[in-house]
């Protein structure tokens, strides 16, 4: 049964020409039979060419569609269109480790979850993020854990896997903007997805700097709180879609 499952690894990248060769080599070395899709979110460097050089299918956004959340739409649409059973998000900055992919895929293969978050804070191994970012992560972990009713330790983790229920919902039924990882998680929960967190290791990015400067982190926290309120207000709409279309 497992051999029939179509699994896609969506590498999201914005101006990552320096990190990307390492990321793609890592993914091609640790090949578990998953398809690789690079999503270039409107880069102005040679991100796209790096993807082509490594023979990876590349979706190139003609303009930046607004942070990592903007790329989520693309891989859901692609995965839904091409009938993938599982999609894994993998950051193009080199933080994620390809050999850890089976850890986030396994709970979906076993039928235990529809949405798996790879958390670096369960075993506390590897890169643990910057202190200022950890404050924000802690706050949103608490809020989302309360809403979901299960403990969440790494809400902002970009290392995630989604099953068919989530792919179908966001790839076909939900046509609105996905603001953040927290928004994505809460809507998936309202749509009936089973959420699970598994421990993973992460690395620090090799080249360049994170887009989360202290100012941006503060603004991210304020926007994040509004997003949580927005997500809660959308609960009925999501449930109506699920009930009407069996999404």
């Amino acid at each position: 049964m497992r051999a029939k499952m179509k699994i896609l690894v969506a590498v999201i990248a914005f101006n990552e020409e320096k990190n990307l060769p390492f990321v793609l080599e890592d993914l091609q070395t640790h090949n578990f039979g998953y398809d690789i899709l690079l999503i270039d979110n409107g880069s102005i460097d040679n991100t796209r060419r790096v993807g082509e050089k490594y023979g990876v299918k590349t979706l190139t956004h003609c303009i930046n569609s607004g942070g990592p959340a903007g790329t989520v739409r693309s891989y859901f649409l692609y995965a839904y269109k091409y009938g993938y059973d599982i999609v894994c998000q993998f950051d193009g900055d080199g933080q994620h480790i390809a050999s850890e992919l089976p850890n986030i895929v396994e709970p979906i293969l076993k039928g235990e979850a529809d949405y798996v978050i790879g958390s670096r804070f369960i075993k506390k191994e590897g890169f643990q993020s910057t202190p200022i970012r950890r404050v924000g992560i802690y706050l949103f972990n608490k809020i989302d854990s309360y809403i979901l009713g299960i403990p969440i330790t790494d809400i902002t983790s970009g290392f995630r896997a989604y099953g068919r229920r989530v792919i179908r919902f966001f790839g076909h039924y939900y046509k609105h903007e996905i603001y953040s990882t927290s928004h994505l998680l809460l809507l998936s929960h309202f749509a009936g997805a089973r959420i699970k967190e598994v421990p993973v290791r992460m690395r620090e990015r090799m080249y360049g700097s994170s887009e989360f400067t202290p100012m941006r982190s503060a603004s991210y926290m304020i926007k994040g709180l509004i997003n949580v309120i927005g997500s809660l207000l959308q609960r009925q709409q999501v449930r109506r879609i699920v009930e009407s279309y069996g999404a």
């Binding site: 999503i39 299918k57 590349t58 979706l59 190139t60 956004h61 003609c62 303009i63 569609s65 607004g66 903007g70 739409r73 693309s74 649409l77 692609y78 269109k81 046509k175 609105h176 903007e177």
Partner: protein, 130 residues
């Protein structure tokens, strides 16, 4: 309210109304967007004719002694409603743009795949004919 102001409001209202109709005729503005502007120009036109009614509403219902203030309140109210409406439209358009960006990138990749297949098919065709 003085006659001069009434005449001025009527003329401005008329010009405004003409502009909105012209925009509709030339497809510069969609009817859904023009609706509020038509209401606005009709309100300006009505000031000169229905001034006693507005005066009565402002004094007896809302409790504003100076009837001119109701015009300011109506105009500010109109602008707030319109800004709120436009914010909603911008949000909708952001959703649509995000979907279009994603769809375009998928189609571009599909075109690339087809182009890669094309030379192989062209090579195959003469062989098949032979």
């Amino acid at each position: 309210m003085g006659l001069k102001i009434k005449v001025l409001a009527f003329i401005i209202g008329l010009i405004f109304f003409g502009f909105v109709l012209r925009s509709l005729r030339k497809n510069v503005m969609r009817p859904s967007y023009a609706f509020l502007w038509i209401c606005m120009s009709l309100f300006l036109l009505s000031i000169s004719v229905l001034e006693p009614l507005y005066k009565w509403i402002s004094v007896n219902i809302i409790g504003i002694v100076d009837a001119r203030h109701i015009i300011y309140i109506a105009l500010i109210g109109f602008l707030l409603v319109y800004v709120f409406y436009l914010t909603g439209r911008i949000s909708q358009m952001s959703d649509q743009i995000q979907i279009l960006i994603s769809q375009t990138s998928i189609l571009e990749q599909e075109i690339k795949d087809l182009r890669k297949q094309e030379p192989a098919e062209k090579k195959r065709t003469p062989e098949t004919n032979n």
